[in-house]
C-alpha cells in the first residue's frame, strides 16, 4: 500500500513532522504561583511575574518539571539530567516580558519514539526529536473593539511541553494516529488532559512533498491547528497545494501558514513572515536545571502501565483479539473498566480471567460502547458500572439467562438503574432448562402443527427453525435454546 499522491507527472510522497504543544497539568504556572484553571475572568489569574512587572523574577514549578520527565519516560525518551532555559525574544501584545522562556539548545527530554496504530492492524514507529518546557503566551482578542485589541494574560506563563516529532509521518492518517496515540499516552500518565477543543493540545504541522526516495523538499509550517481532523485536512490540502505548485514548475517558499477551518485551506501568514530573529540566550534569571538519576528513576516508578504494554498483555495473557485490545486501551478508563469487570466476572463465574476475557471484551466493545454511543455518553460517565456489567454477563455465561434475554435485561438496566439479578428475578426471566417443562412445550407445538411435522419428517429439514421458534415463543424466550434444540431434534427424528 502506498500513501503517494498521484500527480500529473508521477507520484509524490508527503513528509510530515509535528510539533505538539501540550499544556502540563499543574495547579500553578511554570514560573509563577498564579492559577492555571481554564475559563476565568480576564487577567484574574495573572501574577506580577506573569504581567512582567519591573523587577519580577521567575521561579520554576517542580511539578511541571516532573510531568515533562514522566512524559519523556512514557515516550521511551532520553531524560537530560542537565537542561537550560533560554529566552526567545520577540515583541507581541500577549507576550508581556518581550520574551518567552523556553528551552533551545538543551531541552529536558531528548530522543524517543511512539508506536502508532494504523488501520488493518499495522503499526509504525514515529521518532520523537525532543521535548522542551516553555511558557504559553496570553490571548489577544481582536474582535471586541473597533480599533483596539484586548489582551488577557490568564494563559501567560502556563507550562507547555513542546513535543517535537521527527519527520517520520507519510500521510494525514499517520499524523492523526500519532496525535491520538500521543493524547492517549499523556492522558494515561496524567501530564496533560489532551483536550484539543480547549487548546490544551495544539499542533504545528510541518509538511513537505518529494518524489519517493529523493531528498526532503522545502517545508511549510501550519501553525496552531487545534483538532485531529483539522490537522488531517490541513495536511491533505497543503500537500496537494505543494504538488500543484511543483508540477507547474514552481517552487515552495518556506513559510508559516494558517489553516482556515471554515474553508479547509491553508494560507500564508505574511504578517509573521518578517525576518524572525529570536535572539535565544540562556535566561540569566534562572540556573541550569540539574536533575539526579534518583529523581528520574522515581518518576519512572510512578508511571502506570502504558497503552502498548497493556495491549500486548491483553492479547497474550487474556487471549482477546488485537482489535478489542486496541479499542480498550485507547482510553485508560476503558481499559480500567475492562479490568475491573473482568476480575469481578471471574469471581462470579469461578473461572479464570482468560476464560471470560473474550466475552467481557466483546460485551464492552459491542454492547456497552453501542449503548453509550446512542446515549452520547463516554465511558467515564457510564450509567452501568463495571461490577453491574459483570453481574449481567455472569448470568449469561452460567446459563441463567440467554443471550437474547441478556440484551433485554441490559436495556432495562440502562432505563431503571436496577441490577441484572434483580431484574431477572422480578420479571421471571430465568432461562428454562428443565427438560420436563420443555418437553411439554415441544409436545404442544408438535400436536398443534402435526402437518408440518409430517412435512419435516418427509425431508423438509428447513422447518426445524420454525419449530424452534414456536417453542421459544411458548416459553417467552426463556427456554434454554441449546436444550430446546437437542430435545426437538430427538423428538422430531424419533
Amino acid at each position: 500500500m502506498s500513501n503517494y499522491i498521484q500527480g500529473a507527472t508521477g507520484d509524490w510522497e508527503i513528509v510530515i513532522g509535528l510539533e505538539v504543544h501540550a499544556q502540563v497539568i499543574s495547579q500553578s504556572k511554570l514560573f509563577s504561583g498564579a492559577a492555571t484553571a481554564f475559563g476565568s475572568e480576564p487577567n484574574t489569574q495573572v501574577s506580577l511575574v506573569d504581567s512582567a512587572m519591573p523587577g519580577m523574577l521567575p521561579v520554576i514549578n517542580g511539578e511541571c518539571v516532573r510531568q515533562a520527565v514522566r512524559t519523556g519516560l512514557a515516550l521511551g525518551a532520553t531524560i537530560n539530567l542537565y537542561s537550560v532555559f533560554d529566552r526567545k525574544n520577540y515583541f507581541y501584545a500577549d507576550l508581556p516580558q518581550g520574551y518567552q522562556i523556553s528551552q533551545f539548545k538543551h531541552p529536558i527530554v531528548g530522543e524517543g519514539d511512539v508506536v502508532i496504530d494504523l488501520d488493518n492492524e499495522q503499526s509504525k514507529v514515529v521518532g520523537i526529536e525532543r521535548i522542551h518546557l516553555e511558557q504559553d503566551a496570553g490571548k489577544s482578542m481582536h474582535d471586541q473593539h473597533p480599533t483596539m485589541t484586548y489582551v488577557d494574560l490568564n494563559r501567560s506563563g502556563v507550562a507547555l511541553m513542546e513535543i517535537v516529532s521527527k519527520p517520520d509521518m507519510r500521510s494525514a492518517e499517520e499524523a492523526g494516529a500519532y496525535l491520538r496515540k500521543l493524547r492517549t499516552i499523556v492522558r494515561y500518565i496524567g501530564s496533560c488532559d489532551g483536550n484539543m477543543e480547549q487548546g490544551s493540545m495544539r499542533a504545528d504541522v510541518n509538511v513537505s512533498v518529494r518524489r519517493p526516495g529523493e531528498e526532503l523538499g522545502t517545508r511549510c509550517e501550519i501553525k496552531n491547528v487545534n483538532s485531529i481532523r483539522f490537522v488531517q485536512q490541513s495536511i491533505d490540502y497543503e500537500a496537494r497545494r505543494q504538488v500543484d505548485i511543483l508540477e507547474d514548475g514552481g517552487q515552495i517558499d518556506q513559510e508559516t501558514r494558517l489553516f482556515d477551518a471554515n474553508s479547509g485551506v491553508t494560507r500564508s501568514m505574511r504578517s509573521k513572515e518578517e525576518a524572525h530573529d529570536y535572539r535565544y540566550f540562556p535566561d540569566p534569571d534562572l540556573l541550569p536545571l540539574q536533575l539526579d538519576q534518583a529523581f528520574v528513576d522515581a518518576q519512572k516508578e510512578s508511571l502506570p502501565e502504558l497503552p502498548d504494554a497493556k495491549k500486548a498483555r491483553f492479547i497474550k495473557d487474556l487471549g482477546i483479539t488485537a482489535y478489542n485490545a486496541s479499542v480498550l486501551v485507547a482510553e485508560q478508563v476503558s481499559a480500567a473498566y475492562f479490568e475491573d469487570m473482568l476480575a469481578d466476572l471471574a469471581k462470579r463465574t469461578g473461572k479464570a480471567e482468560k476464560d471470560v476475557a473474550t466475552a467481557a471484551s466483546n460485551w464492552i466493545t459491542g454492547e456497552l460502547f453501542g449503548a453509550l454511543n446512542k446515549l452520547g455518553q463516554s465511558i467515564t460517565d457510564s450509567p452501568i458500572a463495571a461490577g453491574q456489567a459483570a453481574e449481567l454477563l455472569a448470568l449469561q455465561l452460567d446459563g441463567t439467562i440467554s443471550g437474547r434475554i441478556a440484551k433485554d435485561v441490559f436495556e432495562i438496566m440502562l432505563e431503571s438503574g436496577k441490577g441484572a439479578e434483580e431484574i431477572v428475578e422480578e420479571k421471571g426471566l430465568k432461562q428454562v432448562s428443565d427438560t420436563g417443562a420443555i418437553e411439554g412445550f415441544i409436545d404442544q407445538v408438535m400436536t398443534e402443527n402435526a402437518a408440518k411435522v409430517e412435512e419435516y419428517r418427509g425431508g423438509k429439514d428447513k422447518l426445524f427453525g420454525f419449530f424452534v421458534g414456536q417453542v421459544m415463543k411458548k416459553t417467552q424466550g426463556k427456554a434454554n435454546p441449546k436444550v430446546v434444540n437437542e430435545m426437538l431434534k430427538e423428538k422430531l427424528d424419533a
Binding site: 487577567n43 481582536h142 540556573l287 541550569p288
Partner: protein
C-alpha cells in the same frame, strides 16, 4: 565585524526602537566603535572553555506546585496606559 546603515536599521527594528534616517549614520559610527573595542576578545584562546552559565555555583531549586499569586487584577492593571473591561488595550492587531 562592523555594522552598516542597513544593519543598524534592521536591529533597531528588531529592538522596536524608531530611529530616524538622519540618526542612523551617527549610530553606525558609535556602534562600530564599541564593536571594535569588544573585538579584542578574539585574541583570547577559548578552545575547550565552557561558557559561564551561572555566576553562583548552585542548583536550581524546584518550587512546590501551589497557587500563591494572581487574583490581583487591579494591581496588574493599576499602571496600564489603557485598560478596558479588565483587559489591557492596545492598537488593533491585524493578523
Amino acid at each position: 565585524m562592523s555594522v552598516d546603515k542597513n544593519t543598524v536599521a534592521k536591529i533597531a527594528h528588531l529592538a522596536r526602537i524608531k530611529v530616524p534616517d538622519a540618526s542612523l549614520e551617527p549610530l553606525v559610527g558609535e556602534l562600530n566603535n564599541i564593536l571594535d573595542f569588544v573585538e579584542q576578545l578574539n585574541e583570547v584562546n577559548t578552545d575547550n572553555v565552557a561558557p559561564m552559565t551561572s555566576v553562583v555555583a548552585a542548583t536550581m531549586v524546584l518550587r512546590d506546585d501551589d497557587i500563591t499569586a494572581g487574583d490581583c487584577r487591579d494591581e496588574v492593571l493599576a499602571n496600564a496606559p489603557a485598560a478596558e473591561h479588565g483587559f489591557f488595550a492596545v492598537p488593533k492587531v491585524i493578523e
